[in-house]
């Protein structure tokens, strides 16, 4: 399973979405369920899944603009 597919599955699971999302789906401001708790849960899930540490100082709103921006962020971390 490619990283993109895994991340999309993670987002759907955490936000409990019952519809499909793609790279262009807006996260922040686009999905009402995407709140601060969801951001934290998602970051933690990504850290656990890929065994990486995400420095909070490098996390900003741009990363969570769309599904695609989040995937690119994780891609350069793993």
């Amino acid at each position: 399973m490619s990283l993109g597919i895994q991340i999309k599955a993670m987002i759907k699971e955490i936000l409990q979405l019952n519809y499909d999302i793609n790279e262009d789906t807006a996260l922040l401001g686009g999905i009402p369920e995407f709140d601060s708790m969801a951001v934290v849960t998602l970051l933690t899930a990504i850290e656990e899944q890929y065994g990486i540490m995400i420095d909070d100082d490098e996390v900003d709103a741009e990363i969570f603009e769309t599904v695609g921006t989040l995937i690119s962020f994780v891609e350069q971390k793993v």
């Binding site: 922040l28 708790m37 933690t44 909070d56």
Partner: protein, 287 residues
């Protein structure tokens, strides 16, 4: 009486009044054990209430006496979170244990979820408590990491409100300076932050524990993390019986909508009945 609806009550220890729900064991069946729940922290506690109540009700029906407290300064308990400390919670939980054991002789289980599981491990390391079984649900193993994740809630909030972006170091400094930090509506005190951060599951020696059930609920099937595996290996070396199970399901303490994992309830209940029966004096035999 077979009603297993929880009965709300207030307990008081060292002038701290805290809320608890007691699930009285069904008297139509044999009494099997006493169970003290150690709740998760913050939003994780709120989100897991339904799941914890469902498990507690089922256990009461099956003959367990279950107590589900809210830590002082959290949930429906009195006090402010900013006045709470880990050490007072530990004392209150010992008080709960004595409350359970006062009316009851039989195996006592500590059942902890997330941060509550870390507290269960610490409580279990105290040799004066007659506890020999631990039920752990997705235990938090390192308090420091957990506290950093908690601070992230505030960072995420500041990121989303597009105000000045805060850093973890800023938050730590604020905590140092003001003695308290507001995180998503929770008044986290420096004392509580420091105490939780200092805790690691691996630092506690579980001399009186014989049986541990460790469930990890994950969205997709997953092996245990390296620190978890190391801890379990260590416990095995000490002669403890540790059953681990990976349950694929929704992480009910974190999901957006309230959710439950029926499979976790079933697996936990099965383990409890096996170890409870196993411990009964001469043992009426179980498989």
């Amino acid at each position: 009486m077979s009603s297993s609806a929880g009965q709300p009550l207030f307990l008081e220890n060292s002038s701290r009044r805290f809320f608890a729900v007691e699930y009285i064991a069904n008297t139509d069946v044999d009494l099997k054990g006493a169970v003290l729940h150690l709740p998760a922290f913050g939003e994780e506690m709120n989100k897991s209430r339904a799941m914890v109540a469902a498990q507690a009700r089922l256990l009461a029906e099956l003959g367990y006496h279950v107590l589900v407290p809210d830590y002082y300064g959290t949930g429906d308990s009195e006090g402010d979170l900013s006045d709470a400390s880990w050490s007072c919670w530990l004392e209150d939980m010992q008080f709960c244990l004595r409350h359970l054991q006062k009316n009851f002789t039989g195996p006592t289980f500590l059942w902890g979820l997330r941060l509550g599981a870390l507290m269960a491990i610490e409580l279990a390391s105290k040799s004066d408590l007659d506890v020999s079984r631990l039920l752990l649900w997705n235990p938090v193993l390192a308090g420091e990491q957990y506290m950093l994740q908690f601070l992230r809630l505030r960072l995420a909030n500041s990121m989303m409100s597009s105000g000045a972006k805060e850093k973890v170091s800023d938050l730590k400094q604020l905590l140092e300076q003001d003695g308290v930090l507001e995180v998503s509506g929770y008044e986290l005190s420096k004392a509580l932050f420091t105490e939780i951060s200092a805790r690691k599951a691996s630092q506690f020696k579980l001399s009186s524990i014989k049986h541990i059930y460790w469930a990890e609920v994950t969205a997709t099937s997953k092996p245990l993390t390296i620190p978890a595996q190391q801890l379990i290996d260590n416990w095995h070396t000490q002669g403890l019986s540790v059953v681990t199970e990976n349950i694929v399901g929704s992480q009910f303490w974190a999901t957006q909508e309230i959710s439950q994992s029926q499979q976790l309830i079933e697996a936990s209940t099965q383990w409890l009945s096996q170890t409870a029966a196993f411990s009964n004096t001469s043992g009426t035999g179980t498989t």
